[in-house]
């Protein structure tokens, strides 16, 4: 049982969040100054989520690895220009998700030009993640998948997603709604 008053819990969360942000800003500053240890900590904090986001958008483990890696490398190249007052995560996630969308679009174009079925080429790899859910996810467009990933994996609000992807908030909400309508049957079937 939690005896903390709600206000204190909220304050605690807020303090933890602020501390986390300050700690991350310090890590970015140290990384800018040449600390590999700071870079390692940033990598440890963010790589898995970036990789997961990329995988869920592109459905291909090798491509997801490339995209997450490339995103970090792009971040390193731009590290000196990075404004430490801004959070590192969204910056990285924007790069990752946009690259994943670009990759998916390019793959779809290649599949069309090669006369292949686009759906076939974009089919997710078999793995330990639920195949049915992944299958349903990959019936959505890359743009819809990106919105789902930003919302449910990276935990952004629709307003933040809109800012990250340059979309109106209403568009984000409608994409989320449509995506959920398509994904829910797969989840329910798996749960039952």
């Amino acid at each position: 049982m939690n005896a903390e008053p709600a206000s204190e819990r909220l304050a605690g969360v807020s303090r933890a969040s602020a501390l986390h942000r300050r700690r991350e800003a310090a890590l970015v500053r140290d990384a800018q100054r040449g600390s590999e240890q700071a870079l390692a900590e940033l990598f440890r904090r963010h790589w898995r989520r970036a990789h997961r986001a990329a995988f869920l958008v592109v459905g291909d483990t090798a491509a997801a690895e490339d995209i997450a890696q490339e995103s970090f490398l792009a971040a390193i190249r731009a590290l000196d220009r990075f404004d430490r007052r801004r959070p590192f995560g969204p910056w990285l996630h924007r790069i990752t998700v946009n690259r994943a969308i670009d990759f998916s679009r390019a793959r779809a174009l290649r599949a069309e030009s090669a006369g292949e079925a686009a759906a076939g080429s974009a089919a997710p790899e078999a793995g330990s993640i639920s195949d049915e859910l992944l299958g349903a996810l990959h019936e959505l467009s890359a743009e819809h998948r990106a919105v789902v990933v930003l919302r449910y994996v990276l935990e952004y609000t629709p307003g933040e997603i809109g800012e990250l992807l340059g979309l109106p908030r209403g568009t984000v909400n409608s994409r989320l709604r449509r995506a959920l309508d398509r994904l829910r049957p797969a989840i329910e079937r798996e749960s039952s």
Partner: protein, 365 residues
């Protein structure tokens, strides 16, 4: 917008295949790129001298280490298919020399300024050692010509001709004819059978620097080949004497497919295939230790070919329809050219064989 806890849980928590290994691989690349960035920044105060030394060492190491594979502009090239900033046409070579190219339409010479000349409807070709002539195959015929395409001589062989290789001395050309290995003099005379039942592997001449010439001039044409039982033979072509292969013979033998040795030796570039990717590895270690990865891409790469000055490697990327010139001593420097098939098969369907580099030479005309 309502949330869906079950969807969130599944998307966030379900394990992904190979995640830990992927993280480890990525960290190595990221760390190396970061190390390069760190050392490239200006040093201050007393650290300057120490850092200068470190930078020198690191620059060397990066040229030879996996770190060099993914830094600078190169990292843009490895996502998806094709280098993003590829030039739309082969406008010039990045260093001095001329390329000999085999394509669907025939054999071409590409000059340093990017201009091309189609020598004719030939299949395979080899430079003479100083770039004064080209020997090219056409079915059962072997022809020698100058770089303008003027044919000097032709010979016919009993079987279809493949894998011509001009000797470093310039006085012999070895080639396969069906299952036979044959040798002809550089002037087209004295064509003769050297061995039967050879494997479909290009024969390799011992490099000039490795030859030990006898006072009578013998020992200048040492050839290594593989028979159909995969046994390697080394022979003095002129005397017929069987010899022990030296390491350089074996290095040269490997250069007909996924390996290449620069002029003068001292390094081996190899294309390795791992986990759906081709990696260009350069080893300068005499012991054959695994070398650094200079470039990595999805799918298959072809080549590699060394530039005459040993500073660039050229690899093909058929899936992207690109050629990539990769600097070996400056990590991350890649010059990419697009639409390669079309440029060497104008008017064609674009579905023929991807242009192959048969040689990159600095002509001494």
């Amino acid at each position: 917008m309502s949330r869906d806890p079950e969807l969130e849980r599944r998307l966030r928590e379900t394990p992904l295949p190979g995640e830990a290994e992927a993280e480890e691989r990525s960290w190595e690349i990221v760390r190396a790129a970061y190390a390069e960035r760190t050392t490239a920044r200006p040093a201050h105060g007393r650290r300057r001298v120490a850092l200068a030394v470190a930078v020198g060492g690191l620059a060397l190491a990066l040229g030879l280490s996996p770190a060099g594979a993914k830094v600078g502009e190169l990292v843009e090239d490895v996502v998806g298919i094709g280098a993003e900033d590829a030039k739309p046409a082969l406008r010039s070579l990045p260093t001095a020399g001329e390329l000999l190219v085999e394509s669907e339409q025939g054999v071409w010479i590409v000059r340093e300024d990017g201009s091309k000349r189609l020598l004719g409807d030939y299949e395979q070709a080899t430079w003479s050692p100083r770039g004064l002539f080209v020997a090219a195959t056409d079915g059962y015929e072997l022809a020698a010509m100058d770089p303008l395409g003027n044919v000097r001589w032709t010979i016919s062989a009993p079987g279809e001709i493949a894998d011509p290789r001009w000797s470093p001395s310039g006085f012999r050309i070895a080639y396969r004819s069906g299952d036979d290995l044959r040798v002809v003099a550089g002037d087209g005379s004295g064509d003769r059978l050297l061995a039967r039942d050879v494997a479909p592997v290009a024969p390799a001449w011992r490099p000039l620097g490795e030859l030990k010439l006898a006072p009578d001039g013998s020992g200048s044409h040492i050839l290594t080949y593989v028979d159909e039982s995969k046994k390697i033979h080394t022979v003095d072509v002129d005397s017929g004497e069987r010899l022990e292969a030296v390491p350089q013979d074996l290095e040269q033998l490997g250069t007909q497919s996924k390996r290449a040795v620069p002029v003068g030796g001292g390094a081996i570039a190899t294309l390795e295939h791992k986990q759906g990717r081709d990696r260009l590895v350069v080893s300068r270690d005499q012991r054959g230790e695994p070398g650094p990865v200079l470039f990595s891409a999805r799918g298959e790469l072809t080549g590699p070919s060394w530039s005459p000055d040993g500073r660039w490697l050229l690899v093909g990327w058929p899936e992207a329809d690109q050629w990539l010139f990769i600097r070996t001593d400056r990590p991350g420097r890649v010059v990419a050219f697009d639409r390669i098939s079309e440029q060497f098969d104008p008017g064609g369907s674009g579905e023929g064989r991807f242009p192959r580099i048969a040689g990159w030479i600095l002509p001494q005309r």
